[in-house]
Point group: C2
Chain length 302, copies 2
């Protein structure tokens, strides 16, 4: 799974950072989390194809999180997209999305953009994964997202398969794909040679939010947490007042939730460098980092 940090800035862009957008490649799909102004062009500058975007998750309708949506959809149509596009938005905001999808003289004719509202705790199943929403603490309707890969098949035991009379080759694949085969000693079922199903991988994308117990709840046990840290600790009170978090607070969520790795995003334009936000977060949760725009990270799952 590849994380591509298209935009990591908060509230307004700067010379250093575009506003918010994260693309995640899962198998052949690209899932987009937020779509700040300029997202389509950042995708063009990345290793991913903007035409491969299958689902767009919008946390809320402040401009720095969605103003790139119309341009991306228009360029998809310009490039003759036929595949439907799913757009997940907070409860009560479908109208905002639909107004923007046909802004100005644009008409969406060549493919379908399906806007789905998600309330707190609601989930939506896709091919191979589920996305769940969690209500966050921000002045307008805002949700964070948890991605859960479907549980994966258990580990295949080739030694046991051979012992049961299955020769190495195509029959191994049949078993791994869940089909029984005939071995030289009689029928062999997948469960004879496969370990127990393994939990899928998971990550959360949580922004914008002030302090809320939902953040640690939704990200409990996730592998990766991508979360806002708009300010450094010196501005904690100010950040919280506007529904944002400071570095140590975000790191505290990662620690409470027991995730493996934390990426801090939605960095205020007042910071030209990753520090002090990165160093303050690491003091609480060592496996934390502030990505740069267009940074691509292949997550090594456990």
């Amino acid at each position: 799974m590849r994380f591509v940090f298209l935009g990591t800035g908060g509230s307004a862009p700067s010379r250093e950072r575009m506003t918010q957008a994260l693309a995640v490649r899962y198998r052949g799909d690209v899932i987009l989390f937020d779509c700040g102004e300029g997202t389509q062009r950042q995708l063009m500058l990345s290793s991913l194809s903007f035409m491969a975007v299958k689902t767009i998750c919008i946390t809320h309708f402040h401009g720095d999180h969605f103003l790139g949506l119309a341009g991306l959809v228009q360029t998809m149509q310009f490039n003759d997209r036929k595949d439907p596009l799913d757009i997940l938005v907070p409860k009560g905001t479908k109208g905002y999305a639909e107004t923007f999808l046909e802004i100005g003289n644009f008409k969406l004719r060549k493919f379908e953009a399906r806007v789905h509202e998600l309330a707190d705790g609601e989930r939506r199943a896709f091919d191979g994964y589920t996305i769940t929403a969690a209500e966050l603490a921000h002045p307008v309707p805002t949700i964070g997202f948890r991605f859960d890969e479907d549980s994966r098949a258990g580990r295949f035991d080739p030694v046991r398969a051979k012992a049961l009379g299955v020769p190495e080759g195509p029959l191994f694949s049949r078993l791994q794909d869940g089909h029984p085969v005939d071995g030289s000693q009689g029928p062999v079922r997948p469960e004879d040679v496969m370990g127990p199903p393994r939990a899928g991988h998971s990550f959360c994308y949580l922004t914008d939010t002030g302090p809320t117990p939902r953040a640690a709840e939704i990200s409990r046990g996730a592998d990766v947490l991508v979360m806002e840290a708009t300010a450094d600790d010196a501005l904690t009170e100010y950040a919280n007042k506007y529904g944002h978090l400071a570095a140590s607070q975000t790191a505290g969520v990662a620690k409470d939730a027991g995730v493996r790795e934390l990426f801090l995003v939605h960095i205020s334009s007042r910071y030209k460098e990753n520090d002090p936000i990165e160093s303050q977060a690491r003091a609480v949760f060592p496996n934390a980092r502030v990505p740069k725009d267009l940074q691509e990270v292949d997550v090594p799952w456990g």
Copy 2:
């Protein structure tokens, strides 16, 4: 006067070019012509201040010409702008602009954005210049813009002023500012020492358009023409069918209108280089060039 080519791409952005936006600095003002997605960030990367933008001229409401408007306005408010902003749009499109200015949860509270519709031939006067609209040939309501500097004072003749008994120094400035002064041989009027008023400078910004006589009419005698050349000559028919021009056609307008200098913009994303569009245009009108994104040109007026 400085021309800053923020975005020079047509229809959709590419790795090389953002969609359409041109900033022109005139004295302390910045005037923006079109505002494609990402304009605010390109301004941040330029020598100009996005807060200095006083007027925004939108040619039409296809996304590649206006999708950066909301983000720019939102960032202006985020930075506590107080000055009103004038937005010029084609007749019948005020609603598009106003819908976009308060898209999603955004409310414009700190300054006023005044949207003015301009019909073909209509003009609007600003401090020191006038902007005139010309209807172009495109499938949706579209106008091009002509900028005319107010006529400038005549040339000051210091030899004549001294001969009339005015000493070099503050009294020279008084005369140049249009006030009579007392010389050692009696009163001296500005018209005694100033040449006849000189015509102001002018330029046109024309995009998107297929062939139309209005293009050469509106740009007659302008110093600079910035105009679309979406395609190269091999695709002339195709370009014209969609309300666009090919290189030689655009150069032909510059030649007919008798401008001094031509900049070709709205370059299709199919072209990774300035050629063949630039070379085809130069064959018809030698003083033509395709600018790159973020290129800044100080125009040496005659």
